[in-house]
Symmetry: C4
Subunit: 241 residues, 4 copies
């Protein structure tokens, strides 16, 4: 994978950052599509994100088959990632996490909506996927492509979806964008919970405000957040290419 040094460095950094920001605990994962072959993607072996290293990164076909496992055990839920890459050619990176802030919204069915400008990448309203609806009682894990595709359908053209009793999925046009959206999805959940507890009507961002922000590049802003997150996670900072 020496051809992908920068990409793998970003993927390792993303693992460490998501852990440092409490978006993932021992579980949860982040992937990136192979830029040279859109039918493949990179993701760590089954290991806690905060200890992931470059040697843990494996390559998979979209159906979740490892290219060269070298004895490494993959995440059981890698189908979340392959199904998203299959359904959405524009998506280059996927994060799946169990952030404790989003669980209460999945469990109560209250839709998350952007309450703060930096949270607008989550989309106008975050849909909720429930494995029960089509698969009945399961172990709640997305362990095959059928479940992954059903989840991808809930996400549709959006960037994010909650998973009832489980967590959420976030997509982006780059690793850094997916990480940004995952961090601010978590923050939006925390802010919205606090606002709802105040017992007064909440003024969310208007549709127009969200659309205007979506139409602008957030690329430059990313570097500012990425430098800080790298520092907090103890990984070297590389400015955006």
């Amino acid at each position: 994978m020496s051809a992908f040094t920068d990409l793998i460095d970003d993927l390792v950094a993303a693992n460490r950052i998501l852990a440092a920001e409490d978006v993932v605990d021992a579980y949860g994962h982040v992937s990136v599509r192979n830029p040279n072959d859109p039918t493949r993607y990179f993701m760590a072996r089954a290991r806690a994100p905060e200890v992931v290293e470059a040697d843990d990164i494996m390559e998979f076909t979209l159906d979740g088959t490892p290219i060269d496992a070298k004895g490494r055990r993959p995440y059981l839920e890698r189908f979340i990632h392959g199904a998203m890459f299959e359904a959405r050619p524009d998506v280059q990176s996927v994060v799946h996490n169990h952030s404790e802030k989003v669980i209460p919204f999945g469990a109560t069915g209250i839709p998350l909506k952007p309450i703060m400008h930096n949270c607008s990448p989550i989309g106008h309203e975050v849909p909720i996927w429930d494995a029960q609806t089509r698969f009945g009682d399961t172990n709640m894990l997305v362990t095959d492509m059928a479940m992954g595709r059903d989840l991808a359908q809930t996400l549709g053209n959006g960037a994010t979806a909650l998973m009832r009793g489980h967590g959420c999925v976030v997509s982006g046009r780059s690793i850094r964008e997916a990480v940004f959206t995952a961090v601010y999805l978590q923050l939006n959940a925390e802010l919205q919970m606090q606002a709802l507890q105040l017992g007064k009507p909440v003024k969310f961002l208007t549709k127009g405000e969200v659309d205007i922000r979506a139409s602008e590049s957030t690329g430059r802003g990313d570097d500012r957040a990425w430098e800080r997150w790298c520092r907090r996670a103890g990984v070297p900072f590389k400015p955006q290419a």
Copy 2:
């Protein structure tokens, strides 16, 4: 105890991990049954879990008598552990803690139920033990086998029970399983509190979902969490045997 090096290492690690994850403060303890003699168990002397070392580990008979105290003072509440080992041959490890997240549920009598897949080891519904019911006004500590047995009866065949105005008890088939369940019991309490504050009906895991997860080994998953917890607690990680 040189015959039990791995077991004692795990027990020391468990003490440090429970402290690092804020499951215990200066109080609370974790024990493991002697694998060579089911009528005995190991547990630290009366010391804050985050400073426990191998030399602090004592051995006890199920009634709480130290085998060779060497001047070390035992926990007053060791009867919680002996009574659980006595009542439940399948239980190999017991955690007692005062996690601040579970206290509000014990005080209000609201039953904890799994709200997230990883929390399913807590069981379908966590029972609440109140020392008042059978023992009236006390100092609220489980200071003899009669109280320990009463508590064990509340736990029954389950893995967890809350103790009103005090904390909770968690059991497992191994140290690592007990630690896992203790950490996720705490997380479930936090998540359920937040969900209840949102003021809408909460969709907990179904009975079927909990049963399916209970029927599967969580053994491999433990290694992933255990490695991360060791790192956070500053103790060496040993892969599962």
Copy 3:
């Protein structure tokens, strides 16, 4: 003060511990009565508790006059301490703090009551003092003995009192007991707030449970907590004499 090495070490440790446990921020202070002269007490100069050193410790008469200031500026609110020592010969140590957990109770007038066994030293119900009642509009600081005595009267024979819009005061028979009570007063406030948010009646400790615990020595238990707190605050641990 070389005759008081252990006492001053404990007082410095108490400053650092209260800061490490978030009981104080830049403000708040802790004092100890001179064991050789009950009409005098020791307390740091006006400095944030987490940076207090032995050389910062000053001696005062009960009316707040420094014995030998050596150019050091005392806390404006030292009268809280002197008035408590004057009114209560049994009190050897006083903590004043602005813990953010207790402020909401002072502001709403909801009485704090022990919700967990370790919190029983706060007493059956924590009274609330309001500077407005006798002194009208002020800068809210206890800047003379008249205000200190009024506050001491609210405390009466108890161990703790809240101060509306300001914080609280905690007393103890030793530095370690006062620190213990201050930490668990803060914890009780946090736990009681969470329990009240669950919207069901809260079962606090019974009068009998609190009385039984008050009748027992908590001295040995203190060492367990004190060792852990010293470690977290980065100060050397000295076992209780």
Copy 4:
């Protein structure tokens, strides 16, 4: 800028402190007026506050034009600062932040009021500015002087204002005062949220109490907090001149 060594050191420290106290994340900024030329001010280039260094400090005219950019990219929202300096000759320092504690109040329109004595510098009641009111759907950023002036008008003669769906702005007569007010504005939001969740009427500071505190110098107190904040942020402490 060698003539401004102390001022620039304070400005760098302010950046680090606001980050260490979670008042800012990757976004938010702090400025200071040039004491030799009231038509100019200093502020960092577009970088996360916790990594700002002396070489990042740029100088601007009040309309936001960099004096000597040296290739450094300025914050897009520098107009918040220039407009405040233009409208208020008494203001020497401005903080803009997205503290997560204040967002729920901006979103629900509940006015923040001082609930604790140290929070009185926020003023009797914090006004809320909504970019929608005069500018309709925007990207919510204050990207020109027209928006900055509108915001400054909401602030009026006060020290603070919230910005709906965005954050807040804080002003002070010095860097240290602005930082103090920003930290305690955040704390007030947290305390007021908890108090409101208790469901009883809240007794805020009276008008008289706030006025009395405003009439007193808080200068000496600042050193106590500033020393602690410097230590927590890992920057050298310089006593106030």
